[in-house]
Amino acid sequence: QKNGVSNGTLYKKTFIEHFEQAPMYVAVFTFVGFAVGTIFGYLRDFMRAWGLEKRNIAAEREQQKDFVPLYQDFENFYTRNLYMRIRDNWNRPICSVPGPQFDLMERVTDDYNWTFRFTGRTIKNVINMGSYNYLGFAETDVNALKTVTRELEKYGTGVCSTRQEMGTLDKHVELEKLVATFLGVEDAMVFGMGFATNSMNIPALVGKGCLILSDELNHTSLVLGARLSGATIRIFKHNNMQSLEKLLRDAIIYGQPRTHRAWRKIIILVEGIYSMEGSIVRLPEIVSLKNKYKAYLYLDEAHSIGAVGATGRGVVEYFGMSPDDVDVLMGTFTKSFGAAGGYIAGKKGLVDFLRTHSHSAVYATSMCPPVAEQIIRAMKCLMGLDGTTQGLQRVRQLEKNTRYFRRKLHEMGFIIYGNDDSPVVPLLLYMPGKIGAFARRMLEKNIGVVVVGFPATPITESRARFCVSAAHTREMLDKVLNALDELGDYLQLKYSRYSKSSHPELYEETRLELED
């Protein structure tokens, strides 16, 4: 008699993701808002065309009027008439380190967001819910940055060369060995810029005659790299394994479009955590699919390295799989390590190939030494090689903060997308009028949030995206949650039909078990 089949399912822990749909009246109101905005957009365009109003936006010169019009498409219309009205919520300049709290420069506008001017004052200690500072390594503590200052004094800041010429420093070699040890792979290569890692290395790996199967919601860097490579691109629905399997089967059965020969290579491009949805990739299923249909897997762990997993090693560890299952592991150092740059890791043959054939290695300047040292110290801290358990504490703190924040938001009745374990928390706002109101009122309460609308998200699903950090204390999170509660009632943002609790207690009752 058995209690159950051991390793019977692909997933070792439960995989819970939420993508709740709002009630119908929300969609109706969203469309009403956009309709009114569009009508007034046409009215303002008419007034600008007939000279009744000053033209502030880019327009063609007189001599170009007989040519094909430049600014008539929907994107320009949207920018002119809808984006400009709430433009003060983006591109806000900050003037301190983007830690859990930061300082903003105060900015006012006299002519409805066409021009801004700085008053000279700074808004101090704004709680930062927008920076990708998952483990809190963006800090200015002198003790923590001792090695970084030492390397800065030893090497300076400029490298002045590419990797293949004279830009490979001993720091890069040390960093690459450390990254390979951290991830549990044979070798790794680091690049100076995370976006360029994707867009310059995918063309080196695939070319014409290859097939790229890319997720619907992949980041622009992956899309750009895929397009630059010249391979055929097919899109499968977001995190949908049936759609992916269907595409794989069609690819193998029918082959290339006209000649019906087999594809030279089939590569699947996915991300660890998708930054706009907060969802985690279904890695075990993808790996079993790739093994069955003999395809390759490219995993972009930009947001998940350091942020998920028991010891911060990303989605591969989160699902309990071995790094040998993934062919190309890619990640960035911008989010969890407080530095800049990206890496590609995998088998030694792959990394050696990229060292010679990648555009980034041949033409782009390599990473500068103080940044490399920051990554080295952050990684050593995470692995415990500096003799403390601070790294592990940060990972645990992030996990606790994420669970707490998500649970409280669910209880309050907001619609949150994504997996329960992902530190990226999108809160749905839906209506265009509420985007501006939400961001402005949160800033009045001294909390800085990032709101996203069209074209980064579908036009009806605008959202506010919170990035929980290990450096946030419980008081900061409580302050944010209180403000969200108040604002949610005032702006009527609590659309969720599943869990409603009036005024959940934000302070834990006394627990009778011992604190660990």
């Binding site: 109101f29 009403v32 808002g33 956009f34 009114v36 905005g37 007034f40 809808l82 009205r85 709430i86 409805y112 209506m431 265009p432 009028g433 509420k434 501006g436 109101a437 005032y490 702006l491 009527q492």
Partner: protein
């Protein structure tokens, strides 16, 4: 104070209207245009209700009344 909370509630409802129809984002002269358009539409609606619906409702009620067989009718003469 009941008056104050009612006033706050009405103001809050107006804010919701502003948010839903994006008039929160408009410049003052656009708001004036939009609200005057809305108020005129609502006024026309009330006028139409007064003119048409009242007369229509009274004739419909009369029809129903007659159908239900009330003693107002000259049914006596018919029966005889």
């Amino acid at each position: 104070m009941d008056v104050k909370s009612t006033k706050n509630f009405v103001f809050w409802l107006f804010c919701q209207f502003e948010l839903i129809t994006c008039s929160y984002l408009m410049e003052p002269w656009e708001k004036v245009l939009f609200y005057s358009f809305n108020i005129s539409m609502v006024g026309m609606l009330f006028y139409t209700t007064y003119v048409c619906v009242a007369a229509h409702a009274s004739t419909a009620l009369q029809f129903l009344w007659n159908l239900l067989g009330n003693p107002h009718e000259n049914a006596v003469s018919v029966v005889k």
